[in-house]
């Protein structure tokens, strides 16, 4: 089994990529992907910690949390996609920078 550190580095990296994606990308769908990445970074943490909780055992709490979290992320995505569709209908674009009616 690999050292815990590698998993953690991976999850942190995933998190950073996700945030970077959110902070730079302008396509609405990509933004959703960025959010998914963030959630998954956390999920990986849960799985990893569950595995490393006690030698030879897997902590069920971490796994269940990850499973629930995936489900919740799915719900989120569903709502988000619905909003994106509505947005596209109204604005005719998927560029987030075009959404600038609200400012100041």
């Amino acid at each position: 089994m690999l050292d815990l550190a590698y998993y953690l580095i991976f999850s942190f990296a995933l998190y950073i990529v996700g945030i970077y994606c959110l902070a730079t990308k302008r396509n609405l769908i990509r933004l959703l992907l960025g959010v998914e990445m963030l959630v998954n970074a956390a999920n990986i943490n849960f799985i990893t910690f569950a595995a490393y909780a006690a030698p030879g055992f897997v902590d069920s709490l971490g796994h269940s949390f990850a499973a629930i979290s995936i489900g919740l992320a799915g719900a989120l995505s569903a709502v988000a996609l619905a909003v994106v569709v509505l947005l596209y209908r109204r604005y005719g674009t998927l560029d987030s920078d075009e959404l600038k009616q609200l400012r100041g």
Partner: protein, 693 residues
């Protein structure tokens, strides 16, 4: 209850009721109003007369009632009845009564006479309160109220119609009655402020406001006061400033000439006979305290002499100052006003004398009070006559008068009696009191003051003769008066036929008083003797026992010899003043304007005197104009910029800040997410720098 317990209270409460009655009855019935006011005045006068018996038995009664409490003490309201207060109260109420009678005719046609009665009655009430009060606080109430009444009466013609202006003629400035009232109020207020400071300092050491207690306990509190050098002198100065302002003494004398814009009875009562004497009264009232400090206490406190030196010097100077100005005045009432200043200068001077040597206390005080009585009487005569004269002549300027000596015989005679008494001609009342003052000067060794007083006698003789001459005998003017339109406008509406004698109701009061002047003159030495004995008992009761009179007299003379000498010298002095005036104005041998070339030293002197020594101008330049200058600029240069900076600037700043900060809200989703990232990064950096991770 004895009459002496009630009379003092009634004598000042009655006129107050009269004052209110005047307002209440104004719309109801004028006649009833006049009668009510006169009867309250009469009753008040009777009440003061009822106090005279206790003057004869030299008692000093203090009626005190609980008034109110202050931290750690209480203040009582009481009336003090002693020689000083009885004499002054009688003078006030008697003169008031006569002047009120005179006014019923003089002011009869005035539409707002209720206001006149109100202020006159209130004045009488507060003047009596001032005189009878047994403590500083109660006295001060009367003191301020008389100022207020004076304000109301000087500005009686508040609409400032041209005929009531005073001053001029053009190009010299005219002053309006309303402004003159304010000027009088403010100048006396300035003195009052100082007086109040003095009273308070006195209280802080003595813990009492009561006049009698102040003197009785002086021995215990004076050491504490004298422990700090300067305090006693400061108190002297502060306490004197109030009376000096009230009595129109230098440097506060400037309000009096312009106070003549009030109705003539007002000038007679307030600005000649009574209110201006309040200062003299108060100095006399406070005098024992400082006399005690300067001469009786052991060790003596020489700082207390400040009081007497200041009074003597200022009194003498004002006597001279007033005399010089009266010599050139063009308005009849102003001549009398200047002469009032001068005469009060005499009284103040005499009071100063009384403390300048250990032995002249009684002589100084009694001569001063004697002068006060006499001056009150004959100055009222002069003013009341002046009222009739002005009505008759239809002008306030002496140059315009030239009245008939035939048709106005009563007025002429009365006025001459008053004038001669003012000059101090034997055997009228003024002679005795003036000589007493002069003797007191000599006896206490104050030769400088004596000399100034003597010069003033010359001046008095001159201006009285000039005034009478211009008014009745020749009417030859002495200046090159600009007889332009403005000047002609100043003539009063001619409601009397030119040169007509006054109504008998008007003549009666001043006739009576002129007679009284003669009577007092005839029994002068007796009155003088009576006053000295009254005051020596008065002071003895206070414990101001002074060693037997040790002065050696002047040139080895004393007693009768000295009196004769002084009388002789003063008669000479009167002649020195009167003779030139007689030949210039009464039986003119040359035109007085010939004495005044357009330029030259005499012209300069004339201008100097005419412009009142430039003192008024100086005050205007130094106090009035800068104050106005400053007040106009405070708003523009301090208040407005502050307002701009704070009330305008700070909101502007916030607006600017708000504009700047709202740029954070870009509306771009990417930037928002960047904030999130940055937050995490900064948090990590801070933690790292803090050594936490």
């Amino acid at each position: 209850m004895q009459i002496i317990d009630v009379a003092p209270w009634l004598c000042w409460i009655l006129p107050a009721i009269g004052a209110l009655a005047a307002l209440a009855l104004n719309k109801v019935n004028r006649k009833a109003m006049n009668i009510t006011v006169l009867s309250t005045t009469l009753l008040s006068c009777i009440m003061t007369l009822l106090m005279v018996p206790s003057l004869l038995n030299n008692s000093s009664i203090d009626h005190a009632l609980f008034w109110f409490q202050i931290a750690g003490a209480q203040v009582n309201a009481g009336l003090l009845i002693d020689a000083l207060s009885i004499i002054v109260a009688n003078v006030v109420s008697f003169l008031s009564l006569l002047i009120m009678i005179y006014s019923t005719k003089y002011m009869a046609e005035d539409p707002s006479i209720a206001r006149f009665w109100f202020f006159m009655s209130l004045f009488l009430s507060s003047m009596l309160l001032l005189v009878l009060a047994d403590n500083f606080i109660l006295m001060f109430i009367g003191w301020k109220l008389v100022s207020l009444c004076s304000f109301g009466l000087i500005g009686y013609y508040y609409r400032d119609e041209k005929e009531h202006w005073i001053g001029g003629p053009a190009p010299f400035p005219f002053q309006k009655p309303s402004r003159n009232g304010l000027k009088a109020l403010l100048m006396t207020s300035f003195g009052d402020t100082a007086l109040l400071a003095g009273i308070i300092i006195l209280y802080l050491y003595s813990h009492t406001f009561n006049f009698m207690e102040l003197i009785q306990t002086a021995g215990t509190w004076l050491p504490a006061m004298a422990a700090t050098p300067g305090i006693l002198a400061l108190t002297c100065v502060l306490l004197l400033l109030g009376p000096l302002a009230k009595s129109a003494q230098f440097p506060f004398h400037e309000w009096l000439p312009e106070a003549m814009s009030g109705p003539t009875p007002v000038s007679a009562l307030i600005h000649a006979a009574t209110m201006v004497k309040a200062g003299v009264y108060l100095i006399a009232r406070m005098l024992p305290i400082f006399f005690f400090a300067a001469w009786v206490a052991a060790p003596a406190y020489p700082e207390a002499l400040t009081f007497f030196i200041m009074a003597g010097a200022i009194g003498a100077f004002t006597a001279f100052l007033g005399g010089t100005q009266a010599m050139v005045a063009k308005e009849l009432k102003k001549v009398l006003a200047y002469s009032t200043m001068s005469a009060i200068g005499y009284m103040v001077l005499a009071l100063g004398i009384s403390g300048l040597s250990a032995g002249s206390l009684v002589a100084g005080t009694s001569s001063s009070i004697f002068f006060l009585i006499n001056h009150g009487i004959f100055k009222v005569v002069l003013f009341l006559c002046a009222g009739v004269v002005i009505h008759s002549a239809g002008s306030i300027y002496l140059d315009h008068m030239n009245l008939s000596t035939k048709r106005m015989r009563f007025t002429l005679v009365s006025m001459w009696i008053g004038g001669l008494a003012l000059m101090g001609v034997f055997p009228l009342s003024g002679f005795w009191s003036k000589d007493n003052v002069l003797i007191a000067c000599l006896e206490s060794g104050q030769y400088a003051i004596f000399a100034v007083a003597m010069i003033s006698v010359v001046l008095t003789a001159f201006y009285v003769c000039r005034m009478m001459g211009l008014a009745f005998h020749t009417g030859t003017p002495d200046g090159n008066i600009h007889r332009d339109e403005e000047f002609r406008d100043r003539k009063l509406a001619e409601d009397h036929a030119h040169g007509e004698e006054g109504h008998w109701i008007e003549i009666l009061p001043y006739g009576l008083l002129a007679a009284l002047t003669v009577v007092i003159g005839l029994v002068g030495p007796l009155v003088s003797e009576f006053l000295s004995s009254a005051f020596s008992t008065y002071y003895a009761n206070m414990g101001l026992e002074v060693a037997a009179e040790t002065h050696t007299g002047f040139l080895g003379l004393s007693g009768l010899g000295l009196e004769v000498l002084v009388a002789a010298v003063s008669i000479v002095m009167i002649l020195i003043g009167a003779v030139p005036a007689y030949f210039l104005y009464i039986k003119p041998t040359s035109n007085p304007s010939n004495l005044l070339p357009q330029t030259g030293i005499r012209r300069t002197l004339y201008n100097f005197l005419w412009n009142r020594w430039y003192i008024n101008a100086f005050y205007n330049k130094v106090f009035v104009e800068p104050s106005i200058w400053v007040s106009k600029r405070v708003q523009r240069y301090i208040e407005d910029p502050l307002n701009q900076a704070i009330n305008g600037g700070i909101p502007e700043g916030f607006k600017w800040l708000s504009r700047g900060l709202s740029r954070i809200q870009t509306g771009k989703l990417r930037i928002n997410m960047l904030y999130l990232l940055v937050t995490i990064v900064i948090a990590l950096i801070v933690l790292w720098l803090g050594g936490f991770i």
